[in-house]
């Protein structure tokens, strides 16, 4: 009988087992505290300490002083802002729980570890939040946090949260939430980042900072998925990638099982950005068991927006950029399950800000 992989051990672990791991240290983790046995352990335990134990000040220990954090709605790069944002989120959603669904990682050059952490949160909106006044309703949301870690600290982060699904549960229409968000100005650095990411993706250039794993087999699979489905819109090629009973979760409550429904889901979404161009910026792959592997992708899509909702018609033709992440469970080279996460509310808010600016000009 083969030894279970780290990924499989974590999959079946109790919360006590996650917080007190007994497996032997299995990664070098040069520069990390001795208590951590691997990068998944580091991510899971510090997340629990900061969010569930409410030890927010630990961000000072586990984030670099200068740590760029990219979301589709904002940018920050100081640990001080990370602490303040975490505090504000907990004040708005005091019972927020962070249930670790999976951590998929890769080892990068120079003792750097890349982790992609998929989290399910249950949270009750008890205070004013980025979506408006409190609704006192409870919602569930999927987040994928991709982090670069070195020397016991996170020094770069991309954060994707399925806010359109969350706000629906809070009783808020996603377009209304986007209109509320669009009233906030995210700052010059964010605006510059959004513009440059849009253009880089439009040009088909993968991220230049060498965070792309070089596992050829999986890089080809991911590139083929992006190229055939998103760039060429050849939805008849879905069967090259997906099992006939594959289950797919996409933002806003889109959920499909099987090739026909997945094709419909992607067709409907791509219709909002018919000239979409996708670039895969990072791939991480870990084995799960003898038959299955887990894959994490971080990607960007850019194109021209075409509204399906009449309230957004004025945004037609505006540059549209999405920062997204996808986790796959694969067996025999086919996707069995997919979780794709991006912030649809922030993406719409960016369109509305662009429209507003054009109107002013």
């Amino acid at each position: 009988m083969t030894q279970p992989t780290t990924s499989e051990v974590l999959h079946w672990q109790t919360i006590n087992g996650l917080l007190h791991p007994t497996r032997p240290k299995n990664q070098a983790l040069v520069g990390f505290d001795h208590e951590f046995v691997d990068i998944a352990d580091f991510i899971l335990r510090i997340t629990h300490r900061i969010w569930e134990q409410k030890n927010i000040g630990l961000c000072y220990d586990y984030y670099e002083d200068h740590c760029p954090v990219h979301t589709l709605g904002a940018y920050c790069d100081s640990v001080e802002t990370v602490v303040q944002n975490t505090l504000r989120t907990i004040a708005s959603f005091p019972d927020r729980s962070l249930i670790g669904e999976n951590v998929i990682w890769s080892e990068e050059p120079d003792e750097v570890y890349y982790s992609s952490h998929r989290i399910t949160s249950i949270m009750t909106n008890q205070g004013p939040s980025e979506f408006g006044p409190p609704t006192y309703k409870t919602g569930r949301v999927t987040t994928i946090a991709d982090c670069l870690c070195k020397d016991n600290k996170i020094y770069y982060e991309w954060l994707m949260r399925d806010n359109s699904f969350l706000v629906k549960q809070l009783g808020i229409d996603p377009v209304d939430a986007a209109m509320f968000q669009a009233q906030q100005q995210p700052g010059q650095i964010f605006n510059h980042w959004l513009k440059s990411e849009y253009q880089r993706t439009r040009d088909g250039q993968a991220m230049a900072c060498d965070t792309r794993n070089t596992d050829t087999q999986w890089a080809e699979f991911a590139d083929g998925w992006a190229e055939q489905i998103f760039n060429h819109k050849c939805l008849n090629r879905l069967s090259d990638f997906y099992h006939p009973c594959a289950q797919v979760q996409w933002p806003g409550g889109r959920q499909a099982t099987g090739l026909a429904a997945i094709s419909g889901l992607l067709t409907q979404w791509l219709a909002t950005c018919p000239d979409a161009r996708m670039v895969i910026d990072h791939i991480a792959v870990v084995p799960f068991d003898e038959n299955r592997s887990h894959v994490a992708l971080r990607w960007g899509v850019s194109g021209s927006y075409q509204a399906r909702d009449s309230r957004l018609k004025a945004c037609n033709g505006h540059p549209y950029y999405v920062l997204g992440a996808t986790h796959f469970e694969l067996s025999d080279g086919q996707i069995l399950q997919e979780w794709t996460v991006f912030d649809e509310v922030a993406a719409i808010a960016n369109l509305l800000r662009h429209q507003s600016k054009r109107s002013e000009d």
């Binding site: 999959h11 079946w12 672990q13 109790t14 919360i15 996650l18 019972d95 729980s97 249930i99 670790g100 669904e101 399910t120 249950i122 409870t138 569930r140 699904f165 629906k168 549960q169 008849n236 069967s239 099992h243 006939p244 009973c245 289950q247 806003g252 409550g253 889109r254 959920q255 499909a256 099982t257 099987g258 090739l259 026909a260 429904a261 094709s263 419909g264 889901l265 067709t267 409907q268 979404w269």
Partner: protein, 292 residues
């Protein structure tokens, strides 16, 4: 692990149930995913408040020999009985996911309660978006069949392929030769006693649900006998809602089959029409009055 669910039904043994669940366990019920002890405790409390303790006959268990299991619990309160299906994903010490399937209408009768009140405590479904798609089985498009989900070969697979063609391909002629003469049909709120009834039922569904498409999700087959099978599947299609507007709907269904060389000897169809009607504000998908 299925015994901890039994002990919850019969003894309100919440402690054992909690110990069997992980921090990340997903409990699904009526198209709603519930995570964490706060949410799960609410479900258990509501069950115990409305249904109370019950007796239980020996459940039907489909043991795949792997980590998936399907259990059909047969609950009784002395006057009535109630079937509850459970799809379990476990590793013998903990349950990672659990999907409960039952018929709210049957539960209302079982617990002697008003169906409308019972609908209120049933968890509201997740706000799902059902994307429209091409429902046609074009000659060159790929559509899931039982063989895609089974590693075994032989007669059970052939029977399941035929069975699936009834729902996916509207192959009603298969009904007459696929079922054993003394087949025991049990459908919620539906009277199916002979093949002709089943043909009427499937035909009725196809008149109420246009542009319909049946999709397989999962199949578990008992490893030792290869006679007991549980199939998770769904039908999506267009219906008119209660205001006469066309909407896209989805009905999750669990089928339990017993197979023999004579054909299908038992079929139990589990779905929750009340939850379906609550979720989409539509009438029955199978018939106007609930009877064939």
């Amino acid at each position: 692990m299925y015994q901890v669910i039994s002990r919850f039904f019969t003894q309100a043994d919440v402690k054992s149930l909690q110990q069997a669940l992980l921090h990340s366990t997903c409990w699904s019920q009526g198209q709603r995913h519930v995570y964490g002890q706060t949410q799960q405790k609410q479900l258990w409390a509501k069950w115990l408040a409305h249904v109370g303790l019950v007796k239980q006959a020996e459940p039907v268990v489909i043991d795949t020999g792997a980590q998936q299991r399907f259990v059909l619990y047969q609950l009784s309160n002395g006057e009535r009985s109630l079937s509850v299906g459970a799809w379990l994903y476990h590793n013998h010490s903990h349950i990672k996911s659990l999907e409960i399937v039952l018929d709210t209408e049957e539960l209302a009768e079982f617990s002697n309660q008003n169906l409308e009140q019972l609908k209120d405590w049933w968890p509201s479904p997740d706000p799902l978006v059902l994307s429209d798609f091409d429902q046609q089985c074009h000659p060159h498009t790929r559509h899931a069949v039982p063989a895609d989900l089974l590693t075994i070969k032989g007669q059970p697979v052939a029977q399941l392929e035929q069975w699936w063609s009834i729902w996916q391909r509207f192959n009603l002629a298969a009904v007459s030769h696929l079922y054993a003469a003394d087949c025991d049909w049990q459908y919620p709120s539906q009277q199916v006693r002979k093949p002709a009834d089943l043909i009427t039922l499937v035909a009725m569904m196809n008149t109420r649900l246009t542009r319909s498409y049946a999709q397989l999700e999962k199949i578990l087959i008992d490893a030792s006998t290869q006679k007991k099978v549980a199939i998770g599947w769904r039908i999506e299609g267009d219906m008119l809602d209660n205001n006469g507007n066309p909407i896209r709907v989805r009905l999750p269904i669990t089928s339990y089959l017993e197979l023999s060389s004579q054909g299908i000897t038992k079929e139990r169809l589990l779905f929750d029409e009340a939850a379906f009607q609550k979720a989409f504000a539509v009438a029955s998908v199978f018939s106007g009055n609930g009877k064939v």
